[in-house]
């Protein structure tokens, strides 16, 4: 067997890089991707359920002042939570020196990729909560 063939006997292994050992994460997880959209979902569900119960049960459903105050408070909290997760995602995306498209076979690029995807998902979730906020602002009460 010549030296060239011997070289071919061992194809490349799994790649790791030096920065993989200093990743700022305790353990790799996919759940963070869901944080932004899950916050949207929670906001959506809470807003829908609150409005449904208010319209069905409130003594004066037409007086929606307190209902609106409640819905706006959900919205502010949801936007803040999504912004926080988004900021964390952005920080992960910017960690180290590599830039997009984050397609290197290293834990570092995987870390940055998940950060970037989290950031994008938080962006979408932020806009989707704003859409719901438009519904609160424009479609007043229980009956048209």
């Amino acid at each position: 067997m010549n030296s060239n063939a011997r070289q071919r006997r061992t194809p490349p292994r799994r790649h790791t890089s030096a920065e993989d050992r200093v990743l700022p994460e305790s353990r790799a997880s996919l759940w963070v991707l869901a944080a932004g959209p899950a916050t949207w979902a929670l906001h959506f569900l809470l807003a829908y359920v609150t409005a449904a119960i208010w319209c069905a049960k409130a003594a004066w459903p037409a007086d929606t002042g307190r209902l609106h105050a409640l819905l706006w408070s959900y919205t502010v909290v949801a936007l803040a939570v999504i912004a926080w997760f988004g900021w964390r995602g952005l920080r992960r995306h910017r960690w180290g020196r590599e830039t997009l498209p984050h397609d290197a076979p290293s834990a570092g690029d995987r870390h940055r990729f998940l950060g970037f995807a989290t950031f994008l998902l938080c962006g979408l979730s932020f806009v989707a909560v704003l859409y719901s906020a438009m519904a609160i602002a424009l479609a007043g009460g229980c009956i048209g």
Binding site: R8, R9, T10, P11, P12, R13, R14, H15, A28, S29, L30, L33, A34, P37, A38, W40, A41, F44, A47, Y48, A51, A52, I53, C55, A56, K57, T64, L100, P101, H102, D103, P105, S106, A107, D109, R110, F113, L114, F116, A117, L120, L121, L124, S125, V127, A128, Y131, S132, M134, A135, I136, L138, A139, G140, G141, C142, I143, G144
Partner: protein, 835 residues
């Protein structure tokens, strides 16, 4: 289409071949391997598609002329109901699952999915349920209330078995869908090749992951609804009967919580196909990989906030309508992102003309039109006008045919060489495309107009002179042109399948792993499982094919003659285990037959036969688990190549079975949450729910059930730990205590409503309390059976301190039972105190 048995000069390859060889003769039907089951599954789904397509053509003949007498009104009702139901339940969702079972292992460079027998079970359930549902029309017994089966039409005003065929036949198929979702999610997370970190995963796998998760949350509400519905039809529990406190609208909620995400469950895998096809023919990596992941995950979430847009005209509060209208508009954002990323890839690359690409571009054109009318009907005031007219028929067909059928045909052309070994004809492909594209638009474009002019949906005929005559005739002509396109494709597919010879390897010059295998494909898939460093390994890893073929990577041999694949970690794809996957068996077929009996006999009120069939199903499933799962290997670990040694057994969160249990229980919780939602829904619509004058299940029995159940859970946890410490006697004591406590808890759960004299047929309040208690008791019973199974396993020496997959998974199940106990008791006993 089994693997050709050709002699291998290499003894390692010969051993691999023997391990993965498909059974022959009549035993062929005991195969469980993904490549064989995937072919059956895909073939069956296509057969159902053709059947439903013929129904559509018959309906178009009826509507071609005003006051036509081709079909009787009742037959027409059966046809449109079956057309919609079959297309959605037997084609659109299953084809993606079938096709993924077929190609996902190739896409991931794996030998098989982790639970091949589960795939086979799912397929047989699908086939039996599908044939039953479709066959009903030949006995004039098909469902005829629309594919959404709205009560009270289906509960009070329709005679016959139709609604039961729909409810039970299709619930049975939903079981198959959830089984496939579990298989595919675990497959994507755990059977990726070493090195394929989550940022390198093919987009197809991303979509499968998202869609699998969506199925877990979307299908269970329908199953919960089906249970309520069937209890009403068979036992007269009044969930949807307004006279006794029920509400037909609850069914609409549960149906559309399933029904709307389902549209995206159908659409996303189709886009996944496009995301595999476009880079190949643009000769470049996809543009905006992260953006597509964003779009897939984002659409998956947002699609759950749309269901009420099917109910805009039911009189819900304005504010509620506005929320759903807003979410329906918002979902257009991620949908648009995917389309722009695909178009950008086409524009940035050097496009190679091909039939698959033609269908992808046709799909985008049609889908965008459907999407735009979708944005229109998402606006509540517009929907008030267009609701239940042919405008909606046009919209949904543009979305589904553009967003699903055309991409699936693109995928058929693209993957035909991989599956059958030969390319389809380019010339006939162009004919098929133009016939379908033109036929589709001729058929469905006029429906926008007929709908806006006021033609209602689901009518079997119309009067002359209302302005519908010409539009309908044109639609019918278009439908037949569209069908001609399918006929050309079908002819070509059959002709090519029967031809000799095969295409060259990697015929389209693709970059992803599914093109790495030989053509015709081997049952073992790849000669060795590679290490992946890139999103497009065939383009960017020189020498990969030669190294894989020479067996230089993982698992190039089957020394023990067993089927094996590599299990890796979910995020970074580090090798974790060498998984032994089970081989052929008839047990899965029998399990499906008996499960089928348990669902089908009740349609004809044969409850004893159903009970016997259900019991036999449990016995067969236990036999399947006993002989085929959590087997103790003959040695703890094995060398898998590349100087790597991996364990042959892993339990707890490292085992694939644990993941499957976790995922299944999430689906199960979604069904349970739907029933709890039902309880509180009734609370919102009634002033006296729960009744102020008592009549509830009281406190004593529910609290006893809760305490006994939680103690059973604690004893199960203790048993797990005692087993781990190899204290056999104490393990058995704890497990038996858990069984006794569980039986006490389950009994108390049923005694709670029974001893308070709650009659479920009297009013919806006792009915929903009975359902919550019954559902929880059923889970406690299953948990008890599982504990007994663990006791027997340990006694038989099939579970040891080190080999403890069974008890880990059973305890995981009990965690979820504990949550259900707390919520059920809190709801039925605690909430009346608050309210």
């Amino acid at each position: 289409m089994s693997t050709p048995a050709h002699p291998h000069r290499d003894p390692a390859a010969e051993r691999l071949h023997r391990a993965w060889q498909a059974p022959t003769g009549w035993r062929y039907w005991s195969a469980v391997n993904n490549s064989i089951v995937g072919r059956w599954y895909t073939g069956a789904a296509i057969a159902f598609f053709l059947f439903a397509g013929v129904l559509a053509l018959l309906m178009r003949v009826q509507l071609a002329f005003p006051e036509n007498g081709f079909l009787h009104a009742d037959t027409y009702n059966q046809m449109f109901t079956l057309h919609g139901s079959v297309m959605m339940f037997l084609f659109a969702v299953p084809i993606f699952e079938a096709f993924s079972i077929l190609v996902l292992p190739s896409v991931l460079g794996a030998r098989d999915l982790p639970f091949p027998r589960l795939s086979a079970f799912g397929f047989w359930c699908f086939l039996i349920g599908g044939v039953f549902a479709c066959g009903s029309i030949f006995f004039d017994a098909a469902p005829k209330d629309g594919w959404f089966m709205y009560p009270p039409l289906s509960t009070q005003y329709t005679e016959g078995y139709g609604a039961d065929v729909w409810l039970l036949g299709l619930s049975f198929i939903e079981v198959a869908s959830i089984a496939a979702a579990v298989e595919l999610i675990v497959g994507v997370l755990k059977t990726r090749p070493p090195g394929m970190r989550i940022n390198l995963m093919p987009l197809y796998a991303w979509y499968i992951l998202v869609v699998g998760a969506m199925i877990l949350f979307a299908f269970p509400p329908l199953i919960a609804g089906d249970i309520m519905f069937e209890l009403q039809r068979m036992a007269d529990w009044p969930f949807f009967d307004a006279a006794r406190g029920g509400d037909p609208l609850l069914w609409q909620h549960l149906f559309w919580i399933f029904g709307h995400p389902e549209v995206y469950i159908i659409f996303l895998p189709a886009i996944a196909l496009a995301a595999m096809i476009v880079p190949t023919f643009a000769r470049r990596p996809i543009v905006g990989y992260s953006w597509i992941v964003l779009a897939a995950v984002g659409t998956g979430f947002l699609s759950f906030g749309l269901w009420v847009h099917h109910m805009f005209t039911t009189g819900l509060p304005n504010l509620s309508l506005a929320f759903f209208s807003a979410a329906s508009e918002a979902v257009a954002l991620p949908t648009g992102v995917q389309i722009f990323a695909l178009l950008a890839t086409v524009l940035a690359g050097r496009l190679v003309r091909s039939v698959p690409m033609l269908f992808v571009l046709g799909a985008l054109a049609i889908f965008v039109l459907g999407g735009l009318t979708g944005v229109m009907v998402a606006l509540a005031p517009f929907d008030f006008q267009a609701h239940d007219t042919y405008f909606v028929v046009a919209h949904l067909h543009y979305v589904l045919i553009g967003g699903m059928v055309f991409p699936v045909i693109a995928g058929t052309y693209y993957y035909y060489p991989l599956v059958i070994g030969r390319k389809l004809s380019d010339r006939l492909g162009k004919w098929a495309f133009w016939l379908m594209f033109a036929g589709f638009n001729i058929a469905f474009m006029p429906m926008h107009a007929s709908g806006l002019m006021g033609m209602p949906r689901r009518v079997y005929t119309y009067h002359a002179g209302q302005g519908f005559d010409l539009l309908n005739l044109v639609s019918t002509v278009g439908a037949f042109v569209l069908a001609a396109g399918f006929a050309v494709l079908l002819y070509d597919a059959v002709r090519t399948a029967l031809r000799e010879g095969h295409s060259e390897r990697d015929p389209w010059r693709g970059g992803t792993l599914e093109w790495l295998g030989e053509i015709p494909s081997q049952s073992w898939n790849l000669r060795s499982i590679p290490v992946v460093h890139s999103r497009y390994p065939l383009w960017e890893q020189p020498g990969l094919m030669a190294d894989v073929d020479a067996g230089r990577y993982y698992l190039p041999d089957a020394e023990e003659g067993k089927r094996e694949t590599i299990i890796t970690s979910p995020v970074d794809a580090a090798p974790e285990q060498c998984l032994r996957v089970p081989g052929p068996t008839f047990l899965t077929l029998w399990a499906a037959v008996f499960t089928g009996g348990a669902f089908i006999f009740p349609v004809f009120h044969q409850y004893v036969a159903a009970g016997v069939s259900g019991a036999l199903a449990v016995v067969v499933i236990l036999a399947w688990l006993w002989t085929g799962t959590a087997r103790i290997p003959e040695k703890p670990e094995k060398a898998v190549g590349l100087d790597t040694t991996l364990p042959l057994y892993a339990s707890g969160s490292k085992s694939v079975g644990w993941w499957a249990m976790f995922i299944t229980m999430i689906g199960d919780m979604a069904a349970y949450a739907s029933i709890v939602f039902g309880y509180f829904y009734f609370w919102t619509i009634h002033d006296d729910f729960p009744p102020a004058d008592g009549g509830g299940p009281g406190i004593a029995w529910p609290v006893f059930a809760l305490l006994a159940g939680l103690c059973a859970w604690g004893a199960a946890l203790l048993a797990r730990n005692l087993n781990r410490d190899d204290r056999g006697g104490l393990f058995h004591a704890a497990a038996v205590a858990a069984v006794v406590l569980a039986v006490a808890s389950g009994t108390a759960l049923l005694l709670a409503p029974a001893s308070s004299g709650m009659v479920p047929t009297a009013h919806v309040y006792p009915a929903v309390v009975w359902l919550l208690c019954g559902w929880t008791a059923a889970h406690v019973a299953v948990g008890t059976l599982m504990l007994l199974y663990c006791i027997a396993r340990r006694l038989a020496g099939r579970m040891t301190a080190r080999h403890d997959i069974d008890i880990h998974n059973v305890v995981l199940f009990w965690h979820f039972v504990a949550i259900k106990l707390v919520v059920t008791i809190g709801t039925v006993a605690g909430f009346p105190l608050l309210a």
